[in-house]
């Protein structure tokens, strides 16, 4: 017994001695999906570049918003955290994020003029810039060419309308080898279609738009794959997200952004795939899309105690070299203007082609930033997600579910 006690004491002592170290450790907490890329980028571009600094990558697997709010409130936020455009306003309003204007004014590498203006605006609130946009992204249709070939179905293309797209999915569906489309009840996937169909963000009187005919039409189309049995959700077939089902060649089509390419490269590099724009509502009609962007932000009191060094790391991560590298990895479109003319886009390799499609999609009319302003992302999206789930599983009609979603959003907005 005494020996055990002694050894426990020894362990405690050794642990506390081990904690005493001089190195400045800067923690960068990002979404776990970015892990491979960020570890690669850190190893290539950051390690050893700032003397006495070690940057540690911390993948966050829980909901990032919840993580950020919780650690900002507690004062335990990491030195660098992601600020997603869709909850950027709430993040800025906590008062726990440091405005970066003074740092960027003194910087020799990073100038406001180098960045794409729309991405700067996305993170500016009350005249303060709270994050440096790291990249941006939009949604495209990914399709497995082999599956379409096998069933003799033409590939999805920019000319597809909602109807022809549906028909192609129905024809390529080939269970249990593969499913036509893997699509979750996800607001970020659904809303672009709803906007394309003519649904406004809010009605003119400021109330919820989900009970409009356009919203119901879009919801009807978005859920029809599941109701016809030609689509599945990722969880239905044992995957964490639709992209995983696509990489494992269990789904012929998924709707994802540039983030799907690194997993393809890593897990199934010979995958024969292509990318196309989201379909039009009718021939020559509108098509919607979302512009996603995430920035690097810093809390007011970073735990390392060295905001200057933290900003240095952010500088490196948004430098031209890193941005070009990220572009070539096919992960996302970098936020620097200069890279938009990169020769990379001219290559014929499927990754470059898909990246090009993602990039071009961001410039199409109808593409809006993935932000909800004062409404609050969760308030806006949660009712839609609930409605879509109910419809997909046949537990409510489009009519009922969307009306209920509108009522819920109105409640959240303080309207009756």
């Amino acid at each position: 017994m005494r020996r055990i006690l002694l050894s426990v004491l020894l362990v405690v002592l050794v642990c506390s001695v081990g904690l005493a170290q001089e190195k400045v450790i800067i923690t960068l907490a990002g979404h776990s999906v970015d892990t491979p890329l960020m570890q690669d980028v850190l190893a290539r571009f950051v390690v050893g570049k700032i003397p006495g600094v070690e940057v540690v990558w911390e993948p966050i697997t829980e909901d990032y918003f919840a993580f950020a709010m919780r650690t900002l409130a507690a004062g335990t936020a990491p030195d660098i955290l992601y600020l997603d455009v869709y909850w950027a306003r709430e993040g800025a309003e906590t008062g726990a994020l440091a405005p970066l204007d003074q740092y960027i004014a003194q910087s020799k590498i990073l100038h406001k003029e180098d960045l794409i203006p729309v991405l700067l605006d996305a993170f500016t609130f009350d005249g303060n810039l709270y994050a440096i946009s790291k990249d941006f992204n939009s949604l495209v249709i990914y399709y497995n060419k082999d599956m379409f070939d096998a069933k003799g179905v033409p590939y999805p293309s920019a000319d597809d309308t909602w109807l022809t797209f549906l028909e192609k999915i129905a024809r390529v569906h080939n269970p249990p080898e593969w499913y036509g489309i893997c699509l979750n009840a996800d607001a970020a996937r659904f809303l672009p279609f709803a906007f394309a169909a003519g649904m406004p963000f809010l009605k003119e009187d400021g109330s919820a738009p989900f009970d409009l005919a356009a919203a119901k039409y879009a919801a009807d189309w978005f859920t029809i794959f599941q109701r016809l049995g030609i689509g599945v959700t990722s969880a239905d077939i044992g995957f964490g997200w639709p992209g995983a089902a696509f990489v494992a060649e269990k789904a012929a089509v998924v709707i994802e952004g540039g983030w799907l390419m690194p997993p393809i490269r890593g897990e199934n590099p010979t995958l024969n795939f292509g990318a196309a724009f989201l379909p039009e509502v009718w021939q020559g009609g509108p098509r919607g899309n979302y512009l996603f962007t995430v920035g690097y932000a810093m809390p007011v009191n970073p735990p390392s105690g060295r905001p200057d060094l933290v900003f240095k790391v952010i500088e490196i991560l948004t430098s031209p070299e890193v941005q070009e590298y990220i572009l070539k990895s096919g992960h996302a479109i970098p936020s620097r203007k200069a890279l938009l003319g990169s020769p990379f886009f001219q290559q014929v390799d499927p990754f470059a082609q898909a990246t090009k499609t993602v990039f071009e999609a961001t410039a199409l009319p109808g593409t809006v930033p993935f932000a909800f302003g004062a409404v609050g992302g969760g308030n806006y999206m949660t009712p839609v997600v609930e409605a879509l789930t109910l419809i997909m599983q046949g537990e409510a009609t489009v009519e009922e579910a969307m009306n209920a979603a509108a009522a819920k959003l109105n409640l959240a907005l303080g309207l009756k």
Binding site: V12, D34, T76, W241
Partner: protein
């Protein structure tokens, strides 16, 4: 004949029957057999899921199967030999300079194709998440036909030799490979069973995550991957750290609980002071209060460093430190309850005698009560250990930094990591992580099994 039969009495529905003793014995044996069958059946039901997840190597296969090629010893030999060919190491394998691997693969061509096209060997990069260097540039692959024979239905079966040569000067931990058969061909067999097989229009894709695995690299592939997924400062692995954290915290919790609970138990059972009964009632009452009620305030107390006490150890907050785990659990009500119940059963006379000999209260506690309470202390320790090892809610509230996680949090992290972002056969890694997390406590359980169960006998129900 009748005279030779031995008779035995049986009572049934109030009447006594005399029956053949053998008839009765047969029934006794059979009843035992049925009882044992029932016990075994229940045992399968209780441990089946865990054992099944331990052995399952292809978690998403349909129909589910237990018999994985990994459990087939000849494959271990093949993996060993490939490891030797690749790096001269039969255990962990690898791809070292001078390595040359001969790999066999066979395809069937259904039609009367007499001269089928050669399959292609495509070298693959290792999974990104592993962060290991890419062996593709230094590897040369060559495919040559080796044997062929016609099948009964007019088709042709061809075996090929794939020769991989290392032409660089560096050592790589893995060598992933894909062999793509001509469209319409069917994969038959290979030196090592493939990790994935997909028939596509452009050909039959057969892939191996590692064709130079070595025996351990082959058998424990997923375990290694789960173990090495998360890295912290300086590239140190987090999974072993979580295990270490869990052990440290559980051990400290046991020590603290035993010391404080025996003290409180002694005071509540033997010392006389006003409000004793009320205090004991209050202890029992706290056992009914959900952790969620006190969680909010405790979270804030811990955040503010327990009224500034954290400044003593140079911290602004106790969040993300192990100190936070001890605040609400400094004294566990159930441990106090068990200690009190047990100590009440120690004869008062021993204590009275010591008091007459001049021992003071503290001496009585250390010299008499503690040694006599050893069975209860053992039980409390083991239950506290189990509770601390598996605790989820409070650590989840106060720990947000992966390097501070305990094992359950780490496992939850692993589960959500693979659910959220990773692709491919994620269940392999999740289940491997689960199995790794269960093993330490399982070992402790097997060693101290007796105390686990005795612990419950002491929880006051004999009263």
């Amino acid at each position: 004949m009748n005279e030779e039969r031995e008779l035995a009495p049986v009572r049934y529905r109030g009447r006594v029957y005399y029956v053949d003793a053998q008839w009765l014995a047969r029934r006794r044996v059979m009843r035992k057999t049925i009882t044992y069958s029932l016990l075994v059946l229940l045992a399968v039901f209780m441990v089946g899921p865990l054992v099944y997840s331990f052995f399952s190597n292809d978690p998403l296969s349909w129909p589910p199967k237990l018999a994985s090629p990994k459990l087939w010893p000849p494959n271990w030999a093949a993996a060993w030999s490939l490891g030797v060919q690749g790096a001269g190491n039969g255990w962990t394998g690898g791809w070292a300079p001078g390595g040359k691997i001969e790999f066999g693969v066979a395809f069937r061509y259904p039609g009367g194709d007499t001269d089928p096209p050669l399959p292609r060997a495509q070298l693959l990069a290792p999974p990104y998440e592993l962060g290991v260097p890419n062996p593709v540039p230094v590897t040369q692959a060559e495919v040559t036909p080796w044997q062929e024979r016609p099948t009964e239905d007019g088709g042709l079966e061809v075996a090929y030799k794939v020769i991989l040569t290392h032409q660089g000067s560096e050592t790589y931990p893995l060598l992933p490979l894909a062999i793509i058969g001509a469209p319409g061909s069917k994969f038959i067999t290979a030196t090592l069973p493939p990790d994935s097989l997909s028939t596509r229009v452009s050909g039959t894709y057969v892939t191996w995550r590692n064709v130079a695995p070595g025996a351990i690299g082959y058998l424990f592939d997923h375990y290694v991957r789960a173990w090495t997924t998360f890295k912290g400062e300086g590239g140190r692995l987090l999974f072993p750290r979580w295990i270490g954290n869990s052990f440290l915290i559980a051990a400290l919790r046991v020590v603290i609980t035993v010391v404080f609970a025996t003290m409180a138990g002694y005071a509540l059972s033997r010392l006389r002071f006003p409000g004793r009964n009320f205090l004991f009632f209050f202890v029992i009452f706290t056992m009914m209060i959900p952790g969620q009620v006190t969680m909010i305030s405790n979270y804030l107390v811990v955040r503010d460093g327990v009224f500034g006490l954290s400044k003593l150890v140079g911290l602004d907050t106790f969040l993300n430190t192990f100190w936070a785990l001890f605040l609400p659990a400094l004294v566990s009500s159930s441990a106090v309850f068990m200690m009190k119940q047990f100590m009440e059963s120690i004869p008062k006379e021993i204590e009275e005698a010591a008091r007459i000999d001049g021992a003071n209260t503290f001496q009585i506690y250390t010299r008499i009560i503690l040694p006599l309470s050893l069975p209860a202390i053992a039980a409390v320790s083991i239950l506290t250990f189990q509770g601390a090892w598996n605790e989820f809610f409070w650590p989840m509230v106060v720990l947000t930094q992966p390097k501070k996680y305990t094992l359950p949090l780490g496992l939850n992290y692993l589960l959500h990591y693979y659910q959220a972002g990773a692709t491919g056969s994620v269940w392999n890694m999740i289940l491997a992580g689960t199995v790794i997390s269960v093993i330490p406590v399982l070992v402790i359980y097997i060693l101290f099994q007796r105390y686990f169960i005795e612990g419950f006998h002491l929880s006051g129900i004999k009263q």
